[in-house]
């Protein structure tokens, strides 16, 4: 029986989740692919066969070949190399905008959920307003205001997804607060801060981890869309959406210019979604043992 098993480490929970995650083949595939993408982005200069701005005007629109695995674009730049470099921008935007929205969103949600009452009401009414604008439209609007650029794209996407994180954090805080162990903590004279950090947060954090994981994927997708319609990261910077935007005019004759950047986005988002699904199952306390 489980009780007989010795448990020593404090972080045993992390390993418990990892152990369960390992059994999930889809999630592991997602994790491996994601780590691979991150490594490739970090070591892009070492891996990419060409520079992202190296033009080869004798070799424009080249179809995939041994020399150019994904072909070249309208300026004769190697698409494979550009995708490798593009991962830097896309992954940065993905992780950074999730960080922005998670920090703001969860703080707001935690405050609303923990204190309740008027504080909660004010925060929620404000969020209602922001949620009345669909998130993507909101990021378009903010992005139009801030202007193009990587940092502005991060801000635009990050700010527009705050309400989702707040709501989820609030809901998850409130459900934890209905638990008797919170009352038990108050009965031994635990302060608000300690209750929040030691009792509520660790128990409310699972859905947040899942949402953040999947959020990175959707932020990458939105970022690509922003660059596609001329906001966010601009060409000639190697960003997957910007590459699609630049390549769309040649799509009729040179499909490869559009296919590969799109595939890169899709596979990255897919791997994050698979990992997120796996985490959701692995973190579900109902599936203990």
């Amino acid at each position: 029986m489980a009780t007989e098993r010795k448990k020593a480490k404090k972080n045993s929970r992390f390993w418990e989740v990892m152990r369960r995650l390992r059994k999930n083949r889809l999630a592991m595939a997602g994790l491996v692919f994601l780590l691979l993408m991150i490594l490739i982005s970090i070591f892009a200069p070492l891996i990419a066969p060409y520079g992202y701005e190296t033009q080869d005007l004798y070799n424009m629109f080249a179809l995939p070949s041994a020399e150019h695995p994904f072909g070249t674009d309208n300026l004769g730049r190697d698409i494979f190399s550009r995708i490798i470099y593009g991962g830097r921008a896309s992954l940065t935007i993905g992780f950074a905008s999730v960080a922005v929205s998670a920090v703001f969103g969860m703080t707001l949600g935690a405050i609303a959920g923990y204190y309740g009452g008027k504080v909660d009401m004010v925060i929620m009414r404000v969020l209602d307003v922001f949620q009345a604008v669909p998130a993507i439209l909101m990021s378009i609007a903010i992005s139009a205001t801030l202007g193009p650029g990587l940092v502005n794209a991060i801000l635009a996407i990050g700010l527009s997804t705050i309400p989702g994180y707040s709501r989820m954090t609030r809901a998850s805080f409130m459900s934890v607060q209905g638990m008797e162990y919170i009352e038990a903590a108050r009965a031994i004279h635990c302060g608000d801060r300690r209750i929040m950090l030691k009792h509520v947060l660790p128990n409310a954090v699972s859905p947040m981890i899942v949402q953040m994981t999947m959020g990175v994927g959707s932020c990458i997708s939105v970022a690509a869309m922003l660059s596609f319609i001329g906001l966010g990261v601009q060409p000639p910077s190697p960003e997957w959406g910007a590459m699609l935007s630049a390549g769309r005019n040649y799509i009729r004759d040179y499909w490869h210019i559009v296919l590969f950047p799109g595939l890169a986005i899709m596979l990255t988002v897919l791997s994050l979604n698979m990992l997120g699904d796996g985490l959701r199952d692995a973190l579900d306390p109902r599936l203990k043992n």
Partner: protein
């Protein structure tokens, strides 16, 4: 002197449909080392009563005295002191333990918050508490989800005992447990009381349990105390019509017992915006005009309190 005295305690909740009178004008006192059983059906306010006394909920009205001192309104520091003397054991051994805390963490937390003991002393104290409640030392680093209900409840008891309280509110501590485990926990609680001179307020809906563990029993109905007396006496000679019906409703595990059952009409009504009179009147076979007036908890016989204007007729 009574350890705990509660006078006209009230706890109301605001709801969209009106004011919910969860605890309405409850008065009693409890001697040191004794157990008061509080019984009633769901929604009678018995759990709210315990939580209000412990200041887990703010009272709406009335007074609470502990060791002769008025503790109705206290500062945060004073509350910290009080909570060393007053503790609670919860009903649900599943939701009353933080799933991320190991057994020793849970039991150590109250000690940590006080900060009086050194690390080593705390570890020793945790070991001692685990032994006292009958938890094997090898379970120190187990997590609640790895343990069964009985053991979890023992953790909850150890946590409550950590600060060496004088008074413990036991909120349905055995209701979620199977009978065989339930008996183990009840015996443990009696042993602890004897050894440490604890005073219990034992809140439950289970009448056979309450009879076993209590010195005195208070019966609650819709936020009010309708009858209170010495435990055995309540079962021998219940006066209030509700108590009579409640006692007769218990199925007795004895095939030769003949009990005449009083079946009540209808179901419990809502304690939202109640009318002044007896709240049980609508279901009571003895109800008359007089029952529409507010009922007072009066001393029917020495130590036997009843809130029924027709006690004479009912008991005849």
């Amino acid at each position: 002197m009574a350890l705990l005295e509660v006078q006209n305690l009230k706890k109301y909740f605001k709801t969209p449909r009106g004011i919910l009178h969860a605890v309405d004008d409850v008065t009693f006192s409890l001697e040191e080392g004794k157990t008061l059983g509080v019984v009633g059906e769901s929604g009678c306010g018995k759990s709210t009563l315990g939580r209000t006394i412990l200041h887990l909920l703010d009272s709406t009205g009335g007074k609470i005295f502990f060791k002769g001192e008025d503790i109705t309104v206290v500062s945060r520091n004073k509350l910290g002191e009080l909570r060393e003397d007053m503790q609670i054991i919860f009903q649900d051994p599943f939701s009353s333990l933080n799933p991320r805390f190991s057994v020793s963490q849970t039991i150590r937390e109250p000690l940590e918050l006080r900060g009086r003991l050194s690390k080593a002393e705390m570890e020793e104290e945790v070991d001692r508490l685990m032994e006292v409640v009958g938890l094997a030392p090898r379970l120190r680093n187990s997590y609640p989800h790895e343990l069964d209900g009985g053991r979890r409840q023992r953790i909850g008891i150890a946590r409550a005992l950590a600060l060496k309280p004088k008074f413990i509110v036991c909120d349905e501590p055995v209701s979620a447990l199977d009978v065989s485990i339930q008996a183990q926990i009840l015996n443990l609680m009696l042993d602890l009381q004897e050894k440490n001179g604890l005073t219990y307020m034992f809140v439950t809906h289970d009448l056979s349990v309450v009879k076993y563990i209590s010195d005195e029993i208070a019966v609650m109905y819709l936020g009010q105390m309708v009858e209170k007396c010495e435990s055995d006496r309540l079962f021998e000679r219940p006066i209030h019509p509700y108590t009579q019906a409640l006692l007769s409703a218990i199925p007795i595990p004895d095939i030769h017992a003949q009990n005449k059952r009083i079946l009540l009409k209808g179901e419990i009504t809502s304690p939202i915006n109640p009318k002044p009179g007896c709240r049980f009147a609508a279901r009571c076979a003895y109800a008359t005009e007089k029952c529409r007036e507010p009922q007072e908890l009066r001393e029917w016989e020495p130590g036997h309190f009843v809130a029924c204007c027709r006690a004479e007729e009912v008991s005849a």
